[in-house]
Amino acid sequence: MTAYIIRRLLLLPLIIFGVTLIVFSMMQLLGTDKLVTAYIPQSQIDRMTDEQIESVKERYGLNDPLPLRYINWLGKTLSGDLGWSIVGKQPTLTAILQRVPYTIELALYAIVPIIFVGIWLGIKSAVNHNSFIDNFIRIFALVGYSLPDFVFGLIILMIFYGVLGWFPPGNLSLWADQAVSSDSFNTITHLISIDALLNGRFDIFWDALRHIIAPVITLAYLWWAFLLRITRSAMLEVMKKDYIRTARAKGLSEKVVINKHARRNALIPVTTVAGSMIIGLFIGTVFVETIFNRTGLGRFVADAATQLDYSSIMGSLLFYSMILVIGNLIIDILYAVIDPRIRLE
């Protein structure tokens, strides 16, 4: 196992290098004229003469040969200079980092129902194989699997905000927002709801909760449909195994057989998936954040794309890719730790 992990770690820089290469290549497709907008705001460009624009290009090395350009760009990127964000009106990296906590908060609230409901229903479904409950759950899951998140999000928005008026879009109500931005509010974790609790402000906490429920429902439904299928399938596989028959032959109650013997084994493949799922959750908030008008990295990318903010989208893409790569590595290591069979190989 150690050999496996070492290999993965050695490959890491190669993969990161490859990703930067791809992102860089996409940037170059734009042509130097458009790339200038990554460094200078468009309004300024409009007032510049052709020679001035050329000198800007020179300054940022946009006319250099490709390999040199790449090295320079890579150097800047690694040192944290991702350019200027038009959407955020600040350096791109700052813009990204500022919005990350919002997305994390959303993902965290979504993970809990997804994992618990998904696994619980998946096991229930498998154990009651082919019964009415099983079929009902499966259909529910299948619809969830086929429902694009932006469609479902719109429907949720329409029902819970448009019709019922319970859960408004956005991060916070105006008064809460002002309270949070004021000096008397201590921002510790950068997660609004948690900070609200830490500051003893239950009213802000409830407000934040009210705004986060609808997007969480949207995310949760789609992902637990996914998790449910995996769990169910893993559980069905395990229930067919010989050691389950042995457990029954020993006279153990069905409850013990399922909860102790079957579940532990079924959860092994589910855990890997759960890990990927958490990452996928974090990465897939684009539509939900956009529809519910929330701040976050996903929304940032969407806005950047429509506003042709090249620096922001490239920077975000790099950021997301890093999360994906490192996240997957961590999961693989954890998986090796959990399964005793692999642990000793």
């Binding site: 619809v143 699997y145 719109l154 448009g162 539509f287 890719s321």
Partner: protein
């Protein structure tokens, strides 16, 4: 698969409710896509002269003959005549530019020649400047213009002859020829104005959504006919789904099988490249590439194609490697069966099915992704018949509508339902195929 297995497979397929529902859904969508132009006829603009001619042909009387002929001639004059008139000049300029390209005349002379076209607004005046910096681009532009004029000139001559002929005919012969000439002109006209049936017709200048009515069965959103969008959106969905998945599967198969077959260095390199591509989240990479490439459904497809081939590559490679080590392959090799035969007879059938299953399930995902991109305003141009595009209109009305948002339910429900049913169909079929070809994976 022998006959017995085939029978059993079909029985399983039809016994599976999910599969049947899936096939029905897909069948339904296929039919809609095919008959789209009939159930949601595009609003093709008509040429006045042709319209006149058509009316006269419908209510034909021998006395109409002259009027029909004059309508046709008017059409010819306006649509082809000008081209015929200017063709000589265009030809001259084009030839002189060719001479310039060969270096036989000077830049100044070339510019003077080009001016003849710019003066008549046949080409843009900026070309006069551009010829200094980028002569090749200018030459190719003029070449395109030349070709068009040449074609239309030819066409014009042919039409003139036909009109001559038409003039000589009487009665039924006249009618028949007139009709065929009308169809000819009609097609030509549509071609010439670059009509795109995929753009949803704007029925009203009001942006606020209009509820479903008899005239607009699904209502209007941002002035666009939702019904039209949903129907033609079916075609878009199939277009995108099939193209992207076909390409991704093809490339994936290529990469994966080459890696698996050669092994060693080749395998390492190809798999590392695959890993790198897999390290970039799909939605985001598609978003970025679409933004870079610009608007257009084809750009969306290219963006998606670039970033989805990897899972197929991995799948086929894994399957091949596994099959290579299966007992029956080892046995075949021990018996001296040649490599190519082993590949075709043993390895291919056992490895191709998961790929097919994966492909069917992916079609749904690709359509969702493309729609998502349209929803955000990337990819498809404004008002293109794509379900995601229609939904993008809904978004603002939902947020801004506040308590009244529900009154605009139709802006979401119709395109949304279409999308869900479409993807559901593919998922059901994919699930059913998976159940059949690998019963160990019964879901």
């Amino acid at each position: 698969m022998n006959k017995e297995e085939l029978k059993r497979t079909l029985k399983k397929l039809f016994g599976n409710t999910g599969a049947i529902i899936g096939f029905i859904l897909l069948g339904f969508f296929i039919v809609i896509a095919i008959i789209a132009p009939y159930i949601a006829p595009p609003d093709i603009p008509q040429d006045m002269d042709l319209e006149q001619a058509n009316k006269l042909i419908e209510d034909y009387e021998p006395s109409n003959k002259e009027e029909i002929l004059s309508a046709f001639e008017s059409f010819q004059q306006f649509n082809l005549g000008f081209y015929m008139q200017d063709y000589p000049i265009v030809k001259e300029v084009y030839e002189s530019l060719k001479e310039f390209d060969k270096g036989n005349i000077s830049l100044e002379e070339a510019k003077m020649s080009l001016q003849k076209l710019t003066n008549y607004y046949i080409v843009d005046i900026s070309l006069l400047e551009q010829i200094e910096t980028d002569p090749n681009a200018v030459i190719s532009d003029v070449e395109k213009v030349y070709k068009k004029y040449k074609d239309y000139n030819e066409k014009g001559k042919v039409v003139k002859e036909e009109l001559e002929e038409l003039r000589t005919l009487e009665g039924d012969d006249f009618l028949k020829k007139a009709k065929s000439m009308y169809n000819d002109f009609h097609d030509f006209y549509i071609d010439s104005i670059d009509f795109d049936p995929f753009i949803m017709p704007k029925e009203s200048l009001e942006n606020a959504p209009q509820p479903p009515s008899r005239e607009y069965p699904f209502g209007l959103s941002n002035g666009r006919n939702i019904y039209y969008g949903v129907v033609w959106g079916t075609r878009t969905a199939f277009q995108i789904g099939f193209s992207v998945v076909a390409f991704a599967t093809f490339v994936g198969l290529l990469v994966g099988s080459i890696a698996a077959y050669f092994g060693g260095w080749v395998d390492e390199i190809l798999m590392r490249i695959t890993d790198i591509f897999l390290s970039i989240p799909f939605i985001l990479s598609a978003m970025v590439l679409t933004t870079v490439l610009g608007t257009g459904i084809d750009k969306v497809m290219i963006a998606m194609m670039t970033f989805t081939w990897m899972s197929t590559a991995r799948l086929i490679r894994g399957n091949i490697l596994q099959a290579k080590n299966e007992q029956y392959v080892l046995a075949a090799r021990a018996l001296g069966v040649p490599d190519w035969k082993i590949i075709i007879v043993h390895i291919l059938p056992n490895t191709i099915f998961p790929v097919i299953i994966q492909a069917t399930m992916r079609i749904g995902t690709m359509v969702i992704t493309a729609s998502g991109l349209s929803f955000l305003g990337l990819g498809a141009p404004q008002g293109y018949a794509d379900w995601g595009s229609i939904l993008s209109f809904a978004r603002n009305w939902m947020l801004g509508g506040g308590e009244n948002a529900f009154q605009y339910w139709y802006t979401i429900v119709f395109p949304g339902t279409a999308m869900v049913l479409f993807v559901l169909g593919w998922n059901l079929v994919g699930d059913a195929l998976r159940d059949i070809f690998d019963p160990k994976n019964r879901m």
